[in-house]
Every structure is written in C-alpha cells, then in structure tokens.
C-alpha cells in the first residue's frame, strides 16, 4: 500500500506492507532509528512518537494508519545547537543513563508539558505511566522535565 506521511515536517511517500508497524516504518523505511522498541505489548513506551501532535506508541500502530498524518520523532524535536528544552533538560540533569528509553520519555514529556506547562512532581510521575525506565529510578527524569519547565527557551 502507498502511504504519505509528514515526517518531522517533510512529506514522503512510501510503499509498505499493510502489516508493517509504524515503528518499523520509521526505523527501517525512513531510516530514523531514534525511536526504539522495548516490548511487544504497548507497555514500555520506548516507541513513543507524536502522531498529529499527540503521543502515540508507534509499536501499536500500523504504518498505514499514519497515512496522511504528521509524525514527529525524536529526530524532529531538536538537534545539535538547537536542542529542545526537554532534550537540554535531560542533559543538564542526567535524565538518562543507557539512553534507550530516552526518546520515548522525551516525547511523552513533550505531551505532558503541552497539556500542563507547570506540572507538580506527582503529575510528572503520573504522566510517565506509559514509559518504563530501568536505569534511572526516574528521579533525574523528573528533574530533567522540571528543568525544561524552568527554561522554556525560545
């Protein structure tokens, strides 16, 4: 099937199998390997991307379901010299160790701050219910998000 996706601001057209998962499309067809796969049951959140601006688990969507949609991956959030405040916050506050859960964490946090620009610690923790981290114990992730709240930047 032919699909058209606006990926990180650029439209692209690809031929995909109906059963191809969105996360595999992103990683293997579009070549953006920042989105990771950590489970098969939609629990871990490593695959979180933004679909039409809302956080979605790309392992639980078929690429064909994203036809015509805007998809934002971690690569589209910011890059060298122009990091998103959340990315900067994760750096400042050691919000990552192995980095595997990080892209998903950052995008889930992005959704949180979009809906709730000044969350409490409790609210931050609950907003991360869909994202597992095994390295950090979550505390520095909370601090990273708080940093972004305090430094909204441009």
């Amino acid at each position: 099937m032919k699909i058209r996706i606006n990926l990180n601001g650029n439209w692209r057209e690809d031929e995909v199998e109906p059963r191809m998962l969105l996360v595999h499309y992103l990683r293997e067809v579009a070549g953006l390997t920042g989105t990771h796969i950590g489970c098969e049951t939609s629990l871990c959140g490593a695959c979180t991307v933004l679909l039409n601006g809302e956080a979605a688990k790309s392992c639980t969507l078929f690429a064909v379901q994203a036809d015509g949609a805007e998809v934002t991956t971690i690569e589209g959030l910011g890059s060298d010299g122009n990091l998103h405040p959340l990315q900067q916050g994760f750096w400042e506050e050691h919000g990552l160790q192995c980095g595997f859960c990080t892209p998903g964490m950052v995008l889930a946090s992005h959704q949180l701050l979009g809906r709730n620009p000044h969350p409490t610690r409790e609210e931050i923790r609950h907003a991360l219910e869909g994202n597992l981290c095994r390295c950090t114990g979550y505390q520095h992730i909370v601090k990273a998000i708080e940093w972004a709240v305090e430094h909204p930047g441009k």
Binding site: T33, H36, L43, C44, Q87, G99, P103, R125, H126, I141
Partner: protein
C-alpha cells in the same frame, strides 16, 4: 572551561548529546549490505523430548535462505560456555540449539534466516516440532525429592553442587540453652533483569578474509570475542566484537548466549551478515533471570540482642542449564551472609538445584543482595523478638569502627565505619521523629512502617586469582600528534557514563581541557585487551588503569619537556595546557610536547618516540562499600497496597568522581531493589510454563511508584586502588530490598506478623490483614 579539579564535580555527560537526539547506535540500528534476519523457533514446553523437527515448510517459505537445527551445529558450533567451576560441579551439556530434549520454555530449537525480519518470523512459525511432553520440575523442594523428574537424566538427581562454608562452632552455640533461636524460611524470588533494550546481535562473516565481526548488546566484548572464536573455530586474531550503545544490562548481558553463536554460524555458512534482535517475550523467557533462592535461616542470639551464630541452607535455583556464571552466583551469598556483623559462628550449606527454567545468572548484586536480605531480615527478626529497636540491634552487633576485620566466613573487610553511615541515615531520615509519627498513626489505625538496612557489599571485581576469567582491566592513554587525547578502556559501559568520568580523570591528571579527551570502549579491534563492565568494577578497576596510564604519559611528557627546557623533570608542573617550572619562568605547551614526541627531533637520548601508555591494573583485593538505608512505607488496610512513602540512603562508595553519576546509580539500584520487594516476580507453573511472559504480567515499577530518594554519602577511600573508588553500581539494590521488606513487616508488627515473602503484593498483605498472621508469626 577550568580544568583543575574535575574530579568530584557534577560534569554533564559526553554520552548525552547523541542519545538525547536519538542518534546513538544500538545493535538494531546497525544496517549492513546484504544483511539477513534471524528468528528462532523455541520450546513451548518446560520439559519434552524432541521426536522430530520438520523444516521443509520453513525452508520453502518466502524469503528464507536457511533453517538450522541442533544437528546442523554438530562439528560446526561449540556449546554455550560456562566459566564457573567448583569441586563436584555437575555441568550439563548445553548446545546452542536444543538436542534431544528441551528443558525450559523458550529454549531455542531452530533458527531461520530470511531477507527481512517479518519473513523470518513467519518462517519460524512454520517450523514443525513434534514433542513428547515430559514431567517438569520447577519447585526446588520438589526437585530435591527422590523420585522427582530429573532435569538431566545422566546426573541421577537435580543437585548441581553442594558447597559448605563454616566458621567458628555453631553447634555449641545451637546447643546452648541460654541462646535463643529464630528459624525462618526466606524466599528470594526469581526476577527478570528487564533491560529496556532486549538482546541482539549482528554477525558478519567475511568469506574471503575468514574474519568474523560481531556487534552484540553485551557487557563483555573481549570475553565474548574469545568465546565466539572457540565456538566457531575462527581464530581469535580474526574475530572482532563490538559492543555498540547498549541499552541497559544489569548483569543479563554479562554472558555468552546460544543465539550469538548461531548468528555467527549462520553468517559463516551464508557468507552474509545476519541480525537477530530479541523480542520482549523472548527476553522474559530466554534471557537469564536473577536471584531465585530459598534460604532456610537460623539465627542464634543472646537475650541482649547480640547475635552469636547464623546457620543457613541456601537452595539456589540454577535453571536447566548453566550460562556463563550460573553456579558461581550463590557462592557470594555464603561469603557475605554475615553482613556488617562480627558473628563468630556460621554454617552455610549452598545447594545448586536444577529445574526446568532458564538459567539464573548475574543480576545487579549477583548473590550479594540475597546475602544482605538474609542477614538484614534476621537482624530485624531478632529485634522484633526482643522488642528492641532494629537500630539498637545493629549497634550492638557492629564491629568497632576503623579496624580491618576478618569474619568467620573468611571475608576480610577494609576499614569500615558502619556506625557512621547508620548515624547519618538516622539523621537524614529523622528516624526518631518517624517512630513518633508511627506511634501517632497507629493510634488512628494507620499502618506506617519504618525499615532499616545496613549493608556491606563486595565488589570492584576483582583479584584475578579469584575470578573465573581474569579481574584486571586495561587503560590506554594516548596523546595524539595534535595534542588531543585518546583513552581506550576495556570496560564496556551500558549507561554508567565512563566516557565522561574517565575523561575527567585524564583531563584532571594532565590539566588539559575536558573537551580535548575522548574515551572509547567496546570495540575489540580498538581496545587491545579488556574484561568488561559488571560487579561495580568499571571505575574502581578500569578507572584506576586509565589513571595510572595517564600518570605514565605525564611522566614521559615531563621528561620531553625537561629536556627541551633544560631543567629536571621534577621541577615541572602541568598547568592548564602548559608544562612549566613552578614559577612559570620556563614553559612549553602540552601540544608542543605532544608534537615533539612524534616528530622525534629533540627527544631525550634513548627515549622511544610516541606518547601512548597502556596499563593493566590488577586489583589486589575487592572493595567493600557499605551503607545504611531507611524505607518508610504505609499500607492501605482496605486494599493491602504498599506505598513507598520515603526513602533515605546513605552510601559509602569511597571517593566520588562525579556525584551526578553516583546518584544515578544509587537511584537506579534502589528502584530495582524496590521492584523486587514490591512488584516483580517471575512465575513458572508446575509444568514449567512461564506465566509472567510479557510485560502485561511481569510488573516493572513505574515513575509514580517511587518517592523522592534522599541520598547522602560518606567517603571512605579504599586503599585497594589509586583512585580510592569502591564502586556503587549495585549498592542501591543491595540495600533497598531488605529495607523495604523490613518496613512492611514493621508496619504489620502489631498484627503479629514476623515475616512476609516478596513481592509484597496487595493481595498478600490484604489477606494477612484480614485473616491474621499464621501461627509462628510469618506469612509467605
């Protein structure tokens, strides 16, 4: 930036820019020309005989190039290795693909190689295996009964080994009528390491050159290289292993797995790269598990709270086969079973038991959390029995501070001050206020519990004479022609941040900009020799190697500079990119000296050109970090739910090089220890079916389940290495599990509860509250 005094500073990580942008390369991000994908058909049974494997349909499936079964490996691929050995150990044959029998759910039976991962998965599902189901055995008590199913027929029973450790004379103690005893069965349940990145490998054999290049999500690239060379019979000089970014491991990737071997063989046979990426279901069934002990402990104590003897039978569940260190893990339990206390009489019998499950192996703490759990629960049970505060029982049993001691188990601790960390955590937590709050709340029917654990642990693995495959670590510091510095380390981090901390060490030693130092790890073609990252050893052992190498480079540069400046090397200091006399009157830049080392026009007579030093640090001993944790839990009496309300940790990991990284390790460690205490549990049913096979059933803790961790440190530098660093990777996990269980038991003390087994799930607690504690005061 200012380059003096980088050590001890909160320096941002060099690793982060690429990882926060999604630009890190994990093994599944590796794409090679002609790369194929591998999928496995695995045993759905805990124990069965393989009658036949029909691969016809799989072979003919779309996109399939090869199907391999156990028979195809004979003479071509060696078995899965085990590096641990001990007297009388029964070692099962462990082929990379199942032989005549399968012995655990998830055991790989056949491998399919296809052009893409979807087709490989399709084809793997078309491998038809005819099984004859056999009775399985999963409980260790059952496995030890005569007449129980044998996991390995040829062994006659399910005992892998029996080890004994004795000290003092516990029998006299036990016979003394003035001595009290508590007997308790403690279950240290099986858990899954659950790194966020599952395992994976890309094996690339080059037929023309007869070389093998392997990318693997591993903690031990050099050890893996040696083993894969032996397994594939490709000479070691022509084998290369690369650990790319590794997404967490916690011990589960300190190993050599059958799938890695099969991927190498498939690549060799097909002459093309082969990739295998583990799914999460595969991971929960097919990657090693941690813990899984049944500990029957007897603690002997005086009425004043002094503990005089400890006896324990440790049943350690091996699983069906050994992985790299399986039988060695529980031996650390016996060694550390006395914890911080100079208990004079000890007797530990450790029995390794085969069951129809996947192997256990190293998981954060690897035998030491089990020991700390036993002794810290024992101390609390003594306190409860005598109606003493657990703090007082600790103080009564701690050795005098500041002296080296050797315990009845034979383990010798260097200078420790357990009183200091305990005092600090009591202050940090406001312990006496917490006890008062507990009293107040109890009057209102609320169940607040305060749990203490004081631990000591053994890490910074370790003296080679006591390690299965070497315990040294290599560090290379090479100043390049341009004056930038390359550091090569044999450790293989997976989140710990050594690209940052080792750059701190070298930049500070040479007094050059932090940004001028680049650290590499993980590639056996680049790093000449190495052991890897595990056992909280990376900074203590690997960092020390890098530190000494930097000192040696510094010495050589001083000689070159001295020769140039016409002074003695001892007159020179390294000062912010210059090498100069103390008064600054004579000076040459670091860069100029580097250049000169390679241009070699004005070197001191007899000096070799170049500026690279390799040092291999052989640690003279392990290190013994210690600490004290306090957990505060409140139980909802209506639901039995345990809320971890507060957590306080004081840890002494020796010198702290980067406090941010240390805190990260402590937090992560606490989280995993808490996970075991509260929610995690691998469950096999009596047929060997893995019940907790996906994340729908295996509970991994989430952000909202943790309170803010309040952490503090004392810094008692170890004399064992030149940095004074002890290691901190596992300490959080070791301290937290008993602290939390102690807290929950404390909360339910008024109900007569003496013990509850982990995980402390709501239904368990609710049942206890509703129906009361069983006679004898403990519930499982």
């Amino acid at each position: 930036m200012a380059t003096t005094k980088l050590l001890g500073k909160r320096i941002k990580r060099k690793e982060d820019p690429r990882l926060i942008q999604g630009r890190g390369h994990f093994v599944d991000d590796i794409k090679l020309d002609g790369m194929l994908h591998m999928a496995f058909a695995r045993s759905p049974y805990g124990h069965a005989r393989i009658i036949s494997i029909q691969t016809e349909a799989a072979r003919n499936a779309h996109g399939v190039l090869s199907v391999l079964t156990g028979d195809d490996l004979k003479g071509k691929l060696g078995p899965v290795p085990c590096a641990a050995g001990m007297e009388g150990l029964k070692v099962p044959a462990h082929p990379c693909l199942a032989g005549e029998r399968v012995r655990y759910v998830g055991e790989p039976v056949a491998a399919v190689v296809a052009t893409n991962r979807y087709l490989a998965a399709d084809a793997a599902a078309q491998v038809v295996v005819e099984y004859d189901m056999l009775p399985a055995v999963t409980g260790m008590d059952k496995a030890l009964e005569s007449g129980s199913p044998r996991v390995h027929e040829s062994f006659g029973d399910n005992v892998a080994f029996v080890a004994r450790l004795e000290g003092g004379d516990w029998k006299t103690v036990a016979a003394d009528p003035a001595i009290k005893v508590i007997k308790q069965r403690l279950i240290n349940q099986r858990v899954g390491p659950m790194a966020m990145e599952t395992r994976g490998v890309v094996a690339s054999y080059s037929p023309g050159e007869d070389t093998l290049t392997v990318w693997s999500s591993t903690q031990i690239p050099h050890l893996l290289k040696t083993q894969l060379s032996l397994m594939t019979q490709i000479d070691e000089p022509r084998c290369r292993v690369i650990a790319p970014e590794v997404g967490g491991a916690f011990g589960s990737k300190l190993n050599v797995y059958g799938e890695e071997g099969v991927a190498c063989l498939a690549s060799k046979l097909l002459g093309r790269p082969v990739k295998w990426i583990e799914g999460r279901r595969e991971n929960l069934a097919g990657t090693i598990h941690g813990r899984d002990q049944i500990d029957d402990v007897e603690v002997y104590f005086q009425p004043d709270g002094k503990v005089v003897g400890l006896k324990c039978r440790v049943l350690a569940d091996m699983g069906a086969y050994f992985q790299l260190l399986t039988p060695a893990i529980p031996t650390s339990t016996a060694l550390m079973i006395l914890g911080c206390y100079d208990i004079k009489n000890v007797s530990v019998e450790t029995i390794g038991v085969f069951t129809n499950k996947i192997a256990t192996d190293a998981y954060r703490g690897a035998g030491r959390p089990e020991a700390t759990y036993i002794i810290e629960r024992a101390m609390n049970m003594v306190a409860q029995e005598l109606n003493l505060d657990p703090v007082d029982v600790r103080l009564k049993n701690f050795p005098a501070p500041g002296k080296d001691i050797t315990l009845a188990t034979g383990v010798s601790y260097d200078t420790a001050n357990y009183q200091k960390t305990l005092k600090k955590v009591l202050k940090l937590s406001g312990y006496s206020k917490l006890r008062k709050e507990q009293q107040r709340l109890r009057k209102k029917g609320r169940l607040l519990g305060i749990g203490l654990s004081t631990y000591v642990e053994i890490c910074a693995m370790g003296p080679s004479s006591r390690m299965p495959a070497g315990g040294w670590e290599s560090g290379t510091v090479r100043v390049e022609v341009t004056g930038k510095v390359t550091v090569l380390t044999g450790v293989s981090p997976h989140g710990q941040g050594e690209q940052t901390s080792f750059a701190q060490i070298v930049a500070q030693e040479l007094d050059i900009p932090f940004d001028d130092v680049t650290v590499f790890h993980g590639d056996t073609a680049q790093v000449p020799m190495g052991i890897g990252t595990f056992g909280s050893r990376a900074t203590a052992v690997g960092g020390s190697a890098v530190y000494v190498a930097a000192q040696r480079v510094k010495k050589k540069m001083a000689r070159i500079a001295a020769h140039k400046l016409g002074v003695k090397p001892g007159e020179l200091v390294f000062e912010e990119g210059n090498i100069q006399t103390k008064d600054g009157s004579k000076s040459v830049t670091f860069k100029k000296v580097a250049e000169e080392a390679y241009m070699a026009r004005e070197l001191p007579p007899g000096m070799e050109p170049g500026l690279s030093e390799l040092y291999v640090f052989e640690p003279p001993n392990f290190t013994y970090p210690f600490g004290a944790h306090v957990a505060v839990t409140e139980i909802d009496p209506k639901t039995g739910e345990v809320r971890l309300r507060n957590y306080f940790a004081v840890d002494d990991c020796g010198r702290i090089l980067n406090p941010m990284l240390v805190d990260g390790q402590v937090h992560g460690g606490i989280a995993q220890g808490a996970g075991q205490a509260l929610v995690e549990e691998i469950i096999y049913d009596e047929n060997g079916q893995l019940i907790t096979g996906t994340l729908m059933d295996y509970a991994v803790p989430k952000a909202h389940q943790f309170p803010w961790f309040e952490t503090a440190h004392t810094e008692t530098r170890t004399p064992v290495n030149p940095l004074g660093v002890k290691g901190v990777g596992e300490a959080g996990t070791i301290g937290s599990t008993p602290a939390i269980v102690n807290a929950v038991v404390d909360a339910l003390g008024p109900l007569g509860v003496r013990h509850i087994d982990m995980p402390l799930k709501p239904e368990k607690i609710w049942d206890l509250i509703k129906h009361g504690a069983a006679p004898g005061g403990h519930a499982s």
